[in-house]
């Protein structure tokens, strides 16, 4: 028999995404996966509530993108016809505003994408939040297995389809990446009906960002995988094989100078650094 489960409070942090080809504003892929995770969890834990949270400036373009998240809630129960918008002037730091809001609202689970599609995109926001709030953080989440008595059992995605089961005491922050289930379709009707509840958020100018120069990201060069195979079987084996490190080395018990030296040499060998 399944034990009696209680609903939990979740906060999903969502950002304005950017389509990789056309650059149009959209719901960010990873954040949408985060919301998908929350919606699935809500289906399994009746009585749960999901709060959608975004900190940033309000514009027509970003509003359309944020409504994309509300459109995913066509099936959901209570609490998902509004998105809380912590309104900030352009160039503000989202972290203090989010931290203030979260410490006041005290959700048990905060779900975010790993990295934003716009702006800094450093992927540091969840860590900064976890540090401020003093909550544990789990990254690369694939699934939330269960939540019982204030402890969540999570599956963390590792490379090559491996999974690690973790238990974490709530409240906690979890971030999802492409390993989490794909987001459901966003429907026009609920997206249009949903409300953006705007409250002024802490307007702390991000001084560091102001000093940065922002340019569109370029595709990183990819190492070519050269396969010399005579037969289809060889080709298949090569395609299915693990990416082999081969030349890597494990440094243990070395001083920081030695470590730095090893990294420096590697960067030279790879042609990342040129002298």
């Amino acid at each position: 028999m399944r034990p009696e489960q209680q609903g939990i409070e979740m906060a999903v942090l969502v950002s304005v995404g950017r389509h990789p080809i056309t650059g149009r504003a959209r719901r960010a892929d990873q954040d949408a996966r985060g919301l998908e995770l929350a919606l699935c969890l809500e289906g399994r834990l009746p009585g749960s509530r999901i709060g959608l949270l975004h900190a940033g400036p309000r514009s027509e373009e970003s509003e359309a993108a944020l409504r994309g998240y509300l459109g995913m809630a066509a099936d959901a129960g209570t609490g998902l016809n509004t998105l809380t918008l912590l309104e900030q002037p352009e160039g503000s730091d989202a972290i203090p505003a989010l931290a203030d809001h979260l410490s006041a609202a005290m959700p048990q689970l905060v779900i975010t994408g790993t990295r934003a599609e716009l702006g800094e995109g450093s992927g540091l926001l969840p860590y900064a939040l976890a540090e401020r709030l003093g909550w544990p953080l789990v990254n690369g989440l694939a699934a939330v297995e269960k939540v019982e008595n204030g402890v969540a059992t999570l599956l963390q995605a590792l490379p090559r389809g491996q999974r690690r089961r973790l238990q974490v005491r709530l409240p906690a922050i979890i971030c999802v990446d492409a390993a989490a289930p794909a987001a459901r379709q966003s429907a026009f009707g609920p997206a249009r009906r949903g409300e953006l509840e705007a409250t002024p958020g802490a307007a702390e100018l991000d001084h560091e960002l102001a000093g940065w120069q922002v340019a569109p990201a370029r595709k990183r060069p990819k190492r070519l995988k050269i396969i010399r195979a005579a037969s289809a079987r060889d080709r298949f084996k090569a395609a299915a094989a693990k990416a082999e490190g081969g030349s890597g080395q494990v440094l243990e018990g070395v001083s920081s100078e030695q470590g730095a030296e090893a990294i420096f040499t590697l960067l030279h060998e790879e042609g990342v650094l040129r002298s």
Partner: protein, 676 residues
Amino acid sequence: MLETLLPILIITALALAVIGAWRRIRLWRQGRPSAVPLFKGLAALPRRYLVDLHHVVGRDKVISNTHVATAGGFVAAAVLMILVHGLGLGSSERMGPVLGGLLLLASATMFVGSLFVAKRRRNPPARLSRGPWMRLPKSLMAFSLSVFLITLPTVGVLPQDAGSWVLALILSAVLVWGLGEMVFGMTWGGPMKHAFAGALHLAFHRRAERFSTKHGGGGRSTGLKALDLDDERAPLGVEKPADFTWNQLLGFDACVQCGRCEAVCPAFAAGQPLNPKKLIQDMVVGLAGGSDAKYAGSPHPSQGLGGKPVGEHHGGPHGPIVAREGTALVDAETLWACTTCRACVEECPMMIEHVDAIVDMRRFLTLERGETPNKAPEVLDNLIATDNPGGFAPGSRMNWAADLNLPLIADLQQVDVLLWLGDGAFDMRNQRTLRALVKVLRAAEVDFAVLGNEERDSGDVARRLGDEATFQSLAKRNIATLAKYRFQQIVTCDPHSFHVLGNEYGELGGPGAPARYDVRHHSTYIAELYDAGRLAFSPWKGGRVTYHDPCYLGRYNGEYEAPRRVLEALGIPLNEMERSGFRSRCCGGGGGAPITDIPGERRIPDMRMNDVKETGAELVAVGCPQCTAMLEGVVDKTAEVRDIAELVADAIVMPSARPRRGERCSPGSRTEEVVS
């Protein structure tokens, strides 16, 4: 005794019929309002029945004649019976014999008709519904025979007191049966309901443009009706039967369950879970409330089950049509199996609009529930983000023509012909067609240009998948782009773009951009060029050829002639398939069906390729990128698939003494200003 009994019987039956009619009308009026001219509609009814409906019914001569005899006989007999026996005019010295004689004639005609109905019902084809419909010929006979017999004394053939009271009683009983079916049953839901609802449906049809008028014209109305997205309270599509407009509900109720739609439906033939007849009956169940247990025709196909069992689906006018979980009136897969080929609509003698209803229900599933199946959400997201269903960079739309040096309308501002490329521009197979078409246009020295990267998807797929919001967004931006330039006509090799630009954009135009275009399919345009002597062809040396009519060119736009004209000009003798012209079978590529990809027992393009094989053709000429893709995707196909433009380009004889290509022949003299 009969003299006293008959008026009572007739008046009672009529009174009950009136009560039933009132109840039935109340059921229809549960639907949303739809403004139709009531009196004008009723006035147009006889013509719509005798001309437009008969045009459809008349495709089957035996049934047509049977129906003329039976229905004509019945209507005449019913009116005369009310006069003669109901109002007692039969006993008047002067009128009695005349009216009585006419009544005898009418009931005899009806009886002969009912014999043919009975014959058809002896071994009915699978498409016909059974159940109550099997008793209809007997009821027709009961009515016509009993009316005939009770009228004999009126005209004096038999003495007034002929036979005993037992005989009179038996005769009355038979008449009660006949009256019950024909008059009472007409409004209380028997098989004869089709006459009552069908007549009113003709009068109050949602697409009055479909019908011809005395001045000719009309006859085609195929564009979907736009949703009002500005009104936030307006429902997005149809969730429950009561969300249909009242005349749509009336239309469903008019169904005679003849199964002509079932016989032509490609999804049904492929074993996909859609039977258009059953779908309409599901809606009738929904409008009256209850379950589909009484349905007595072929069910929706279902893999491995030989059809979905009846009795499991149920609903009411204010309940959901598609359940979130479990079953309601219909399953979502039934709605997504449709290719929107309009074969059912073309074939329906009751002028029911199946495709409108299906898209209405899809709209709700997509816009409100976000439950578009399979790859469709991805395609819709691509359309939103990149303006094309494949998610390609919009700036790469013209890559296929990098070496062709195509003139851009942005540079010229004004041309004769705007060549609309469609999303086939991203498809390598269709790029061959486009290149062929460009070659033809250049050979004929047409003053043309393309929109280039300014072009977007027409919105066809988004709209058929129920995403009206994305469709309108694309359409409005396309309209704004087109409004910037001057051209006389749009030519496209994509019948889907043709249909959307020509028939569906008009409703969305604004005051600054009326969005009425003169759109032509490339086959039409090539035929015109040939007739104007601007093209010359070398003789055809290939083998047997057949032509596949694209649904969106033929049934949607009525263009059956031009492609055949072009093939004739090429010197290609056609071996027509059995299903061609307005009865052409869909390739399976329309309505987003390849994207939603509802499983069936067979594939629709395979069936179509078999049709091709039966003609012995080595080559099938097509005129649509979707059809090309679907038919080319057939494994082990027996015929080559080539677009008409390719055939033309291959046969073209380049005029030597003409100006070099690229030079336009004094555009100013030939172009007139048109508001685009």
